[in-house]
């Protein structure tokens, strides 16, 4: 499942809710999850708020494609991606990527693939507001 949302993301509640409704109980032996969180300091600058913009439509298309590529490359049971947009503060969670699989190797590799490809290709942009200064983040590292 892929979701882009403006409301607060509680990744562990989402994981629990999503896993409870899986109809594949007993089939998966491994879940790997990544959560990305706003830090209070980035590139040597203090961060007070962060604003996330995205290209509606293109983002969804690319996330769906990334999930399809991961499913083709690894034997996965289920995948969950949630990404926030709008205004966030330090310690707010930005993104969750999670993979359920029979075994841990594919779960680790696919979860890493999802977040790396999301960062490389999904059209989101971060703007950081510090003490009196605002700048667009220029590149992902």
């Amino acid at each position: 499942m892929i979701e882009i949302r403006e409301s607060v993301l509680n990744p562990f509640e989402e994981l629990q809710r999503f896993q409870r409704q899986l109809e594949t109980k007993g089939k998966y032996g491994a879940n790997v999850s990544f959560v990305g969180t706003v830090r209070d300091f980035n590139d040597g600058k203090p961060v007070e708020t962060m604003t996330l913009e995205h290209y509606v439509g293109m983002t969804e298309n690319h996330l769906e494609r990334i999930v399809a590529e991961a499913r083709k490359r690894w034997d996965l049971i289920d995948v969950l991606i949630i990404h926030r947009i709008g205004t966030l503060k330090p310690n707010d969670d930005i993104v969750l990527t999670a993979v359920w699989a029979a075994h841990r190797a594919e779960a680790f590799e696919a979860c890493r693939y999802l977040i790396e490809e999301l960062k490389n290709r999904a059209p989101f942009w971060k703007k950081e507001q510090g003490v009196g200064a605002t700048h667009w983040v220029e590149r992902n590292n």
């Binding site: 990305g36 996330l52 913009e53 995205h54 290209y55 439509g57 293109m58 983002t59 298309n61 990404h83 930005i94 993104v95 977040i115 999301l118 960062k119 490389n120 290709r121 999904a122 059209p123 989101f124 942009w125 971060k126 703007k127 667009w136 983040v137 220029e138 590149r139 992902n140």
Partner: protein, 77 residues
């Protein structure tokens, strides 16, 4: 029918607008569309372009009804 043009993030702020519309016959490539709309402003280095929500190149052909987008490197996740 025309070509719809979108700008995102820093590029949208620099241009002071999020969208343009160009009559179709006046442009043939993404680069020509930029030239037509930017009043001589050079395209910032590293700008990415998309046609109909697919990554494209500056020399990619644009057709009537297409949606073209210009944006800085993506920084999600």
């Amino acid at each position: 029918m025309s070509i719809r043009v979108k700008y995102f993030a820093a590029l949208r702020e620099q241009l002071g607008r999020a969208e343009d519309a160009v009559p179709a016959p006046q442009a043939r490539t993404v680069a020509e569309i930029w030239a037509q709309l930017s009043a001589g402003r050079p395209l910032p280095a590293n700008t990415l372009v998309a046609i109909n929500m697919e990554y494209a190149r500056l020399d990619s052909a644009v057709r009537e009804g297409d949606e073209v987008a210009f944006f800085p490197p993506v920084t999600g996740g």
